[in-house]
Symmetry: none
DNA sequence: AATGAATGAGCTTTCATTCAT
DNA sequence: GATGAATGAAAGCTCATTCAT
């Protein structure tokens, strides 16, 4: 239950936006302070966080809780009985989740090598959880045997992740394919892969 | 035609390795000099490059030429007449290419936002070229209609890219699926998607 | 007549202890507040003192008054008629006084150069008074001619001061000589020096 | 064999003077740089020392080597055969040594509590060595039994140290006694203390 | 009387870059 | 071509002090 004051929140907001835009190292404490409405360079940030890194940690945590909340809601939505419809929903869910967390994704990618401890947990929750859940769904709802489910999840989710990583990390503006068509193609692909024969 | 001396090359080697490990900002000119066998902090690097950024530019360029050369060789390998075999080869090519360019991929991901001008070209060559070629192959060799080919390429290559971005950018140790099985699943998926009905 | 409230006193106590331990500059207002039971960094100290330096001044003053009171009591103790006994008593008095004021001594030593105005008075009272009194005693009770008394006091008290300055200022653990023996030697030395021939 | 360049030496000179005047904490790196002829705040100091503390360490070491050299010379001066003359010489030696090392003495006193590791060695050499040598001299040349020698050294050297600590540390301008007379009194005192009866 | 929050000024340290040798 | 030395600028962080509540 991390304490939450208006200024503290504004600092996290500003910091995460700037970290996403310019990277952690590329963002100075003074910049964060300015963006949070404090006097830049006066160290006002340090009344709310012990170090700059603590801001990053708090920001990642906050994003992850938001993600958790999101997932809880999604879990409520039950089965539709129709494989195509459920694949379409899954694809949209995952893409929406990634769109929400572009900022986090970018920060994770640029800081993964310099601050592994911090990022590890975030990756675990953002990536692994999605894989695990999708694998379980493949097994339980689509009747894919466990050993195959992992491989199918890896290929299937990989395609979805990739689409957002391209634009989010590498700034490749989508890859020229419309989202609707992309999802439709993905669903078709998964559907055929999961169908017998 | 940038001149190439042993020291200059050693500087690029050292710089690209360090940029990949610690990021551009996380690597000091002194570190590069030390790793290149020069006296750290003495500014020897500046006899070969005007700025630190010029080293990055030169490094990216060198990696891209290497990539070009690679692609030329690959183009020589003709058709096999068997769709499954050709899909398998394609997958392995793309993965190998990405494995070769992990360093570049990492640098591009962490610098894409702060240095878009430099990275743009690299992305174009590393990503777009692959997409374009694969789309053309889908159209010409697998008989996929142009409008569909782009979407299929996006999904198909996405899955491959994702597998390497996970480990390369996010440090997710593969996602637990063996490479052989991953490729086999991908081939199966593409094969079914490309087969009529 | 500086007003005295419980909090004010707690601040002085805490401050003098911390000043003695870490030096004036090495002690932050926040540390003093924390040690005094106030919220660190909230500036509660400033309801009792105008500046950090005012705390130091008040602390030194308070220690000096305590010293004055001590001396008044000591003055009541009259002559013993025996030179050796009186020398022994004198030595013990001076050493006890210095032991009481180790904190003050340390602060004075570390701040003497940066804050001469404040320290001057304290030194005057702690050192000069002792010298003056001892010189007077030498003259009046031990029959030493005035001009010689000053030199004898300087040598004699110097030895005593030194013993406490070593441990108090330089952290030399005594200099390996037991206090009892040290006093006995000092008394013997003074006795012989004061005896005719 | 610590490397020695003109700038490096100037930095140590400037730093030790400033440390002595304003204390370690009271001296900023920029001040040292300015006093050493470098641009203040440009960090030129860091081309010669890794940290500010390293400057202090180097400075203390340099002073101690100077002291060592001094002591070696003194050791050459043999016996005079006359106790009074030798006592006078000893007193003057010790006082001269302390006068030379006022700076070191001040730094040691103000930093003893905050950087004990660094100061310990210096104290050992400046204080203990003097005590040990004087004790040995008392035993060997003045014929004082070992157990008594330590106590006599403690009292005798204490008086000398005190005289310089007063002016050096507490800024008490001598204590009003002329140096000649002080030494004469000290010699008389030691002479009587060492004479039989 | 006490606190949460803020600020101006300062600190030590890092670093890309320049230049005389 | 390489080096030792220097520098301007900026970084992260600390701190004495103020003030509205």
């Amino acid at each position: 239950m991390t304490s939450s004051t208006p200024t503290r929140d504004r600092i996290i907001d500003a910091a995460m936006r700037l970290f996403g835009e310019n990277g952690y190292r590329g963002t100075s404490v003074a910049q964060i302070e300015r963006a949070a409405g404090l006097t830049p360079g006066a160290g006002g940030l340090y009344h709310h966080f012990r170090t700059k890194e603590a801001v990053l940690r708090a920001g990642i945590e906050r994003n992850l809780s938001r993600l958790d909340a999101l997932r809880d809601i999604r879990r409520l939505l039950g089965n539709l009985g129709d494989l195509r419809a459920e694949l379409t929903l899954s694809a949209r869910y995952v893409l929406a989740e990634l769109d929400d967390e572009q900022e986090l994704l970018r920060i994770m990618a640029s800081e993964a090598r310099s601050r592994p401890e911090i990022v590890e947990d975030a990756v675990q929750q953002l990536v692994h959880t999605t894989y695990t859940e999708f694998t379980a769904w493949l097994r339980d709802s689509a009747g894919v045997p466990q050993e195959r489910a992992a491989a199918v999840a890896s290929v299937g989710l990989g395609a979805l992740f990739s689409s957002r990583m391209m634009s989010g990390l590498l700034r490749v503006p989508s890859v020229g394919v419309d989202d609707e068509i992309f999802v439709a193609t993905w669903v078709e692909m998964m559907y055929r892969l999961l169908s017998p024969r």
